[in-house]
């Protein structure tokens, strides 16, 4: 067949497929917006966002506890996950013996495809009873437990992506540093880490966006009390958990139904804010 015609046809097919993808993406976003904004006919935005009581029967539709729960969970998971996964990435790229490295990588890659219910299940039958019986924390379902579960869930992702970034640092830079007499740790601190900041930030963003939207594992270990927590061992409820807990029992076009879509809009807002922060940090590093 004439090559030019073949090119045109395939370009056409590829463009049609991308249009289908865009159409689907747009449909979901419009679906969210339409249903979410309907809520504000019934409840004022200020009451919704800053109200700290969620009680459907009495007409309180405040999701502030859930917003605070999500923010706290994200921060705690960040604090726990980033040092651990960066240490593992440094180990895998610089310190590990060759055969051991291969085994660890395979284990980590398998961990990335394990479904989140399994993490939630293990958390609820292993971690929560340990917290409750051995450490005397009642009820055991808490912000801390949810953070630990989420940390283990996003650890493989951040570790593997950061390891790839570390390994793509040019060898000349690394060997140059060593030849000037620095120790291995000074090389890691001074050459590899600053060079890979962009990759590290991207991997953290990827891990965090999975953690924010994670529904099932968090529902199974976080206790789901719609209150503002006073310590990290208090139960919390996050925005995705809020949706899944309410959507099963609400009527089709009721206020709660619209409130759930508005909650999803909030989650989208969260992720957008996170992406903006990460992009800003990346640009700041590049301008240095």
């Amino acid at each position: 067949m004439n090559k030019k015609i073949q090119d045109l046809i395939t370009a056409y097919i590829i463009k049609i497929n991308s249009i289908i993808s865009i159409f689907i993406c747009g449909a979901i976003l419009i679906f969210l917006l339409l249903n979410g904004l309907m809520l504000f006919k019934y409840v004022s935005p200020i009451d919704f966002i800053f109200g700290s009581i969620w009680n459907i029967n009495k007409g309180y539709y405040g999701i502030l506890p859930m917003i605070i729960g999500t923010i706290l969970l994200t921060i705690l998971t960040l604090i726990m996950a980033v040092p651990i996964s960066l240490s593992c990435a440094i180990y895998l790229s610089e310190l590990a013996p060759f055969k051991l490295k291969y085994v660890f990588e395979i284990i980590l890659e398998t961990l990335t495809v394990i479904p989140s219910v399994i993490y939630g299940f293990v958390g609820s039958v292993l971690l929560v009873p340990i917290l409750r019986n051995d450490f005397n924390i009642n009820p055991g379902y808490s912000l801390f437990a949810a953070s630990v579960v989420l940390t283990i869930m996003i650890l493989p992702t951040i570790t593997l992506l950061s390891k790839d970034t570390f390994q793509s640092v040019p060898v000349e830079l690394k060997e140059g540093s060593l030849s000037l007499g620095s120790t291995k740790w000074q090389m890691i601190k001074g050459i590899i880490l600053p060079h890979s900041i962009n990759g590290i930030l991207s991997s953290i963003l990827l891990g965090l966006s999975r953690a924010i939207g994670e529904t099932m594992a968090v529902v199974m270990v976080s206790g789901n009390w719609a209150i503002i927590p006073k310590s990290i061992f208090d139960p919390i409820r996050t925005l995705p958990s809020h949706i899944i807990l309410n959507i099963k029992e609400c009527a089709y076009n009721s206020i709660v139904y619209y409130a759930m879509f508005a909650t999803s809009l909030f989650i989208v807002l969260f992720i957008v804010v996170l992406v903006i922060i990460v992009e800003y940090l990346k640009n700041k590093e590049e301008c240095k």
Binding site: D7, S18, I20, S87, T112, W185, I243
Partner: protein
């Protein structure tokens, strides 16, 4: 500059990293051993097939009431169906993003919306699917597979775009230089080289389909269903796991949950290992 402090600092930091690394992996090992031990008692032939003769169930002569065979079949069927729907659109759309897109407004908007959709919690796609189900066929395998395919579409798009973008540009330009058309370049040069990384993206998508609870809960799943017809409800392993873990009336039925967890892990690891072996075979052919 190396003084005695930097040597001590290095020894300390490396000790810390080693401890963290081995701590993490021993925790993961302990978790798996715990799951394995608790599920040993449950995994017998009755667990899979109930009280009915296995051969009768496999050939569809008699239904099983208690076993998880239906759940295994249901999980496999929904994963395969949703991959059938999403892979062509995803791969061709990803090729568009990496080969045909320019830096104009529409394409940038497309990239932003795909990034946003990739971070949405799965429950939103569950809601979307629920609305579709209510207005058309009712909750069934077809609607569940469609919702899952919409959920993993951004993953496949991003994975394909990444895998094509990470190829060295020299291959593309050399292929054009010897007279190949754009489609011939993509089909015969770029696609085989991008295939290993593309398969990684597909594996991730497959893992999310297989392990998803929030979407199938609203669109396809039920606690008991003997068939996997396109317009029937189906059982899936993660959904059964969630139901058993959250609402099990006795410690005995909690043991069932351990069994389901182990089977789910084994199933997904098996699929993952198959794809990994295929990747290794392809990569070894591409060494030049």
């Amino acid at each position: 500059m190396v003084n005695k402090y930097s040597k001590i600092e290095e020894k300390l930091i490396f000790f810390l990293i080693n401890t963290i690394m081995w701590g993490i992996f021993s925790t993961i090992a302990v978790v798996f051993i715990y799951l394995f031990i608790n599920s040993i008692g449950v995994l017998n032939i009755n667990f899979f097939f109930g009280e009915v003769n296995p051969l009768d169930v496999i050939f569809g002569i008699k239904p099983t009431y208690d076993g998880i065979w239906n759940a295994i079949l249901g999980t496999l069927s929904i994963v395969i169906l949703s991959l059938i729907f999403s892979t062509p659109i995803g791969i061709l759309g990803g090729i568009y993003l990496s080969e045909y897109s320019k830096n104009n407004l529409i394409d940038n908007l497309i990239k932003i919306s795909i990034n946003l959709l990739a971070g949405l919690p799965s429950i939103i796609f569950g809601l979307f699917g629920y609305i579709i189900a209510v207005k058309t066929f009712g909750p069934c395998l077809l609607v569940g597979a469609l919702s899952l395919s919409i959920m993993v579409l951004p993953l496949i798009l991003k994975g394909t775009e990444e895998s094509f973008n990470s190829l060295p540009k020299t291959y593309k330009f050399s292929s054009y230089a010897i007279g190949a058309s754009k489609w011939e370049t993509i089909r015969y040069v770029l696609f085989p080289m991008a295939l290993p990384n593309l398969l990684s993206g597909l594996t991730l998508a497959m893992g999310r389909c297989a392990g998803d609870v929030a979407v199938v809960m609203f669109t396809a799943a039920s606690i008991y269903s003997p068939s996997i017809g396109l317009f029937d409800r189906i059982e899936t392993l993660p959904f059964s796991l969630y139901i058993f873990a959250m609402e099990s009336p006795s410690p005995d039925s909690l043991n069932n949950a351990y069994g389901i967890a182990i089977i789910l892990i084994l199933l997904i690891s098996f699929l993952f290992v198959c794809v990994k072996l295929f990747k290794i075979k392809k990569l070894s052919k591409l060494t030049y």
